[in-house]
Amino acid sequence: MRIRDVARMAWGQIIRRKMVTLLCMMGLSIGSAAMIIALSVGQSVQTYSEKTLNDNYKMDEITITPNEGIRTGNGKGGGQTSKFERGALTLEKIQIIQRLPHVVAVAPMLKLDSLEMVLPDGRSTYVEVIGTELQTLGGFGYKYAEGRGAEDGRMAVTSYGAAFGLIDPKVTQKLFEQLNADPYNNELLQQYTEMSSKQDQLVQQRVQFRYEDYADASKTKMSGSVRVSGELTKPSNVDEMSAQGDKKVYLPLDTARALQDELGLQQADGSAAKRLNSALVKVEDKRYVSQVEEQIQKLTLNTQSNLFQEEAMASQLTMYQKAALGIGGFIMLLASLSIVVAMIMSTHQRRKQIGVMKVLGANLWQIRQMFITEAAMLGLMGGLAGVGIAFAALGGVNSLLASQMADRVNGPMTVVIQQSALPLGIVFAVLVGVVSGIYPAISASRTNALTVIKSM
C-alpha cells in the first residue's frame, strides 16, 4: 500500500469526522503549545538571567585572596602569619596566573580602606582606594572617558562615580544639622540631592586622601597629593544612580603602598610589604572559570567566582522548567486519552468498513497503518495548531513583560520561541498521536470481517 494512499484515506476520515478531529486537536494543540512555551520560557529566562548575571556579577571573573588559613592571635596581624607564607598573594604568583590558559587579564589589587578624597579647595567625598597595575584595567572592560592611566609617579584613575558629590564637609555638616532639625524639609533634601549629583572635572586635579580615626582624632592623617591622570566611563550595564554611588580611585601599586605608609594603614606585619590582598582574574569565557580556579588554588590561594549564582539559578530554572514540562505532559496525557477514546469510538463506528477492506485484501498491518496514520495526522495538526497557540500566548506574555519590566537596566525580558522547541513540540504531538493510535489500530485490525459484515 502506497504512503500517499494511506495518507489520503486517513485524511478522508479526518475531514469526515470534523467534531472528533476538533476535539482531538484541541487537546493536542494545548499540550504541544504548553511544551513549546515551557521550553521557550525556560530558555529565554535562562538567557536573560545569564545576561543579567554576567552584567551584574561578572561571571567570567575570579577574585583571588591569600590563603591565610586559620589565624591565631589578636587578628590585627600579630598572629602566626609567618606559618602561612605559602598562601601569600605575591606578584610572582600573579605572573604565573597571567600565563595560565584562558586567562585574559589579571589585576593585582591592594585595597586600602575607604578614604576621604580631598580636592585642593577642601571639597571631599569618600572613595574606595585600590592599588593595581593601571594598564590591566582595560582587560576588565574599563574604558577611559578622559585621560589615561599612568604608572609613573603619583597618578590616579577615578571611576565615573568618584567625580560626583564632592562637597565641602562644613557645608555637608551644616546641611545635616538643618535636616536633623527639619527632616521633612523638601527644599533641603533637594539641595542635598543636587549637591550629591553634581559632577566635577577631576582629570589633572591634584587630590589628597584623609584617613580619619574616629576613636582618636589626633590620629587623623592626610596623604601627600596624587594627580588624577584619567577618568573611567560609566559602565553600560549599571544605571546612573548606581554608577554615581560607585566611587573608586585606582592607583599604581607603589603609590598605594606609599599611601599606606603615609596614612598609617600598613599592617603591623612587616613582611606584608610585597604582598597583595586580592587580585582579579578575567577568563576568556565563563566555561573556563572552574578550570582556571583549580589551577589558581594549586598556588595555595583562595578563589571566589560567581558560578554558584549560576548554579543556584540553573537549579531554580530546572525546577520551573520541569514544572512547566510536567503541566505540558499532563495536558498531553489527557489529549492522548481523548485520542484513544475518539479512535476507539471511530473503530467501532467503522468496523463494517474495516471488515470490507479485510475481505478485499487489506492485511493487519495495512489496517493498523491507516489508523496510526490518522492518529499521526491528528498529532501533526494538533502540533501545528500548538505552534500557533504558543506564538499567540507568548506574544501576550511579551507585551505583559514589556509593561512590567520597562524600567530594568537590562531592558524587559523577552520570551523568544526557541527554533528547536517548534519541531520538538510538533514531533511530540505526532508521537503522542501515534502512541495513542496504537491500541485503536490493533483493535481495528482484529475486527472479524465476516462477523461485522453480517451483523450490520
Binding site: 500500500m1 502506497r2 479485510k358 475481505v359 478485499l360 485484501g361 465476516l450
Partner: protein
Amino acid sequence: MLQVDQLSHSFRNAQGIVPVLQDINLTIGEGKMVALLGSSGSGKSTLLNLMAGLMKPDQGRILIAGQDIVRFSENRLAEFRRSHIGFIFQSYELLSNLTIRENVELPLVFMGISPAKRKAKALKLLEQVGLGEKANLFPSQLSGGQQQRVSIARSLITEPSVIFADEPTGNLDTETEEEIIAILQQLNRELNTTFVIVTHEAEVAEQMQVVLTLQHGILVEEAVREV
C-alpha cells in the same frame, strides 16, 4: 481450479456444538459458473465463506490454484485473497465516502498499484458493467442494481481466478436480478473467471453451469448443466 476435501465445520451455541457442514467434497473447474443452492440454514453461505478464506474450517482442505488456504496465516490469507479471490456481497458493501471509481480501485490500493494504473483499470471495468459515466458519483447516488454492478466491477479488478458472490441478487427486484446475472454470465464468458454464487432461488441456479445443492450441511446433489 477450486477443490474442497472432506470439509466439516460446526458452530458452538448455548445448546452445544451444531454441525453446519459435514464432509464436503467438491471440485470446481476453471471458468465455471457455479450455484450453491439450498434453503436457509443449509450451510451454503458458511461453505462460501470457508472457500473465500473468511472462516477457518474445523477440518478439511480448501485448495485454490493448488494452495491449501486453510493453512494460511491471516496476513498470508489477506495477500492470497487480494490476488486470487473476488467477493460480491448481498448488500454491495461499498464505502460511502469513496466515489464509485475509488470503490472499484480499492483492492488495487492494498496491492500498492499506482493511481494511474488503478484509475485506467477501474474505468475500463465500470465501462464493462455499464457505469462508465457514473465513475465520479458516490454510492448513495446509485440504485441498488447499479451499486451491485459496482461491487461486481470491484471484485474483478484484481483479475482473480474465482469470485464468490453471496446472494448477489438477494436485495434486487426481478428485472435487476436478471440484469445482474446477465452481466455475471457475460463477464464469465469474456474473462473466463470462475463464479461461485450462493442463492436460495432456483431460477438463479438454473442459469449456472453447475448447481451444488446443500441440505442440512450435506452436499446432496451436484448437477452439471449446459447453459
